[in-house]
Symmetry: C2
Subunit: 111 residues, 2 copies
C-alpha cells in the first residue's frame, strides 16, 4: 500500500457516519447489507449515505454488488488489513518480537 492510498483509506474512516457504516459492514460479514438497511440502521438520509458509501468505495474499503433491486455493500477485509499492515510497518525497527500481537480482520477467503 502506498502513502496516498493510506491517506485516502484513513480519510474514509475519519468520519463518524462512515466509520459507523464500515463497522456495521464488518459485523455483517461478506454477505453485506443493502444501502437501505444501512440507512435505516444509522438513520441517515439516502442521499447522504450514498455519498459516504461512494467515499468508502473510492478508498477500496467496501465493495458493491447488485442483488435484484438492492445494492449490497460489504467490507473489503483485504484492504482493511493492508491498511493495518501499512500503519504497523517500520514500527519497532526490528524489535518486533517484544510487541504485542493483534488479530487482523477475517479475510474473505474463509467466510
Amino acid at each position: 500500500m502506498e502513502m496516498k492510498d493510506a491517506v485516502v483509506a484513513l480519510a474514509a474512516m475519519a468520519q463518524e457516519t462512515r466509520l459507523a457504516v464500515f463497522r456495521a459492514l464488518v459485523v455483517a460479514g461478506p454477505e453485506g447489507l443493502s444501502a437501505g438497511r444501512i440507512a435505516d440502521a444509522l438513520a441517515v438520509a439516502p442521499a447522504t449515505l450514498s455519498f459516504h458509501l461512494k467515499e468508502l468505495d473510492r478508498a477500496g474499503l467496501v465493495t458493491a454488488r447488485q442483488d435484484g433491486r438492492y445494492v449490497l455493500y460489504s467490507a473489503n477485509f483485504a484492504q482493511m488489513n493492508a491498511l493495518l499492515g501499512f500503519l504497523t510497518a517500520n514500527c519497532c525497527r526490528g524489535a518486533v518480537d517484544d510487541c504485542a500481537p493483534a488479530a487482523l480482520c477475517c479475510p474473505p477467503d474463509h467466510a
Copy 2:
C-alpha cells in the same frame, strides 16, 4: 477507545503531511525529534508543521516535551495500538482463530 476518539485519531493521520510526520516519529522511537528537525526532513514551513503537530497531539498520537530551546515530539505508541485495537475489534465475530496475526507497534515500556 471511543468512537469519537477513533475518528479524531484517524482524521489526524488522514493527511499526507501528518502521516509523514507520524511515521517519522515512529521510526525515530521514544527519543523523538525536534520540531525543527521534522520541518527540515519533510520540507514543511514551521507554522504549517506546528499546526499539524498540534493536530497529532490533540489526537493523542504524539507527545511533546521541552528539551532546552527545542521541543521534542515522540509517537504515542499506546494510543496507536489502542486505535488498531479499536479497528480490529468486533471483527470476525469469534472466528478470530482463522485471522492472520499482525504485530502492533512497540509500546514505550520496553524502549
